[in-house]
């Protein structure tokens, strides 16, 4: 009896295994899309934050007011939080986080220099340079993956992806210009 049904048992087992594999693949794919969508949100949030950052003169004027430092700190806490998120990403992408953190530090240095009545022109220049670099890289990264969560996952978890190599290329250019 068993011998007779052996063939059918094998077929049924293989069919069940195939269904499980397909199901697991789908779940894994959904997970990748969800993680990638998180990266997409971080990129969008960073672009939005930097665009809202606007003119350094705005912060110079704000910092000269009584509550200026508090206003700046609110803004910087968001920047630092985003910086931390990028720092947790893989390989070259985390250099975006590094630069976001440095940008926040540059704003704090600007605040200290304004508060102490010292020259702050160099801080303003660094902020503009750093912010422009970040906006350029983030917008290009966004152009590569669009709004596709899965694509974001592929691009942001592979240190040899188009986005990773773009970040590295632009970062190198950015630091070389700074050293000139």
């Amino acid at each position: 009896m068993f011998e007779k049904n052996k063939k059918y048992i094998y077929i049924a087992t293989i069919a069940v295994l195939l269904i499980v594999i397909v199901y697991q693949n789908n779940r894994f794919s959904d997970l990748k899309t969800a993680v990638g969508s998180g990266y997409f949100r971080d990129v969008r949030s960073a672009i939005f934050l930097l665009e809202q950052d606007g003119d350094v003169d705005f912060w110079v004027q704000t910092l000269k007011q009584a509550e200026g430092q508090i206003t700046l700190e609110r803004h910087l806490s968001e920047m630092t939080l985003l910086g931390r998120k990028f720092m947790e990403m893989d390989g070259k992408i985390l250099l975006i986080g590094e630069q976001l953190n440095l940008l926040a530090d540059q704003y704090r240095e600007l605040a200290v220099n304004i508060h102490n009545g010292m020259s702050y022109d160099h801080n303003a220049e660094e902020i503009i340079r750093n912010s422009s670099f970040l906006q350029k890289v983030l917008k290009e990264a966004e152009a590569i993956s669009g709004e596709n969560g899965k694509k974001y996952y592929q691009e942001f978890t592979n240190t040899d992806s188009e986005t990773s190599n773009l970040v590295w290329k632009e970062y190198k250019k950015f630091v070389e210009e700074a050293e000139e």
């Binding site: 720092m87 390989g91 985390l94 250099l95 530090d105 990773s164 590295w168």
Partner: protein, 175 residues
Amino acid sequence: MNYFIRPETDRDIQGIQEVNYLAFNSQENEARLVKLIRTSEYFVPELSLVAVNEDEEIVGHILFSLIHLVTEEGTVPTLGLAPMAVKPGCQNSGIGSSLVSKGLNACKTLGFKHVFVLGHPNFYPRFGFSPASGFGISSPFPVPEEVFMAQELEKGSLTGLKGKIEYPPAFNAVS
């Protein structure tokens, strides 16, 4: 080349020795330094990070270990970044920068407040390092001021801590 960064495991020890040997022109000093620190009380396992490629081959390594800042008020534990190595052939591809960034992030996560490094004055400032002399802190080695750098992982954590860094005996054994 695709790579990812993670803390070292026991299986990585040989690969780490190799990377440090190859990256420093086949000289054994740095590889020996890593070995000596690993067996000392100054070793922090979570702060020895490796960059591995898809074949699980180690292509880069960075180590942060405990050092001391000696001030007039007392001794403050801090971290020293040394050494950092990337396999020749894989250099200049972002692995070193990724290791430094990821490493500094790990130091912050563990609650350390400052880091010191003796290194290239054009490379480390990219990650927020500045000459330690600016904080009133000097190096135990006779080196130009700009190559001995510090970074506050928590703003203001070095304020008022004037003094001199003291490296563990492992560093003297290889210098």
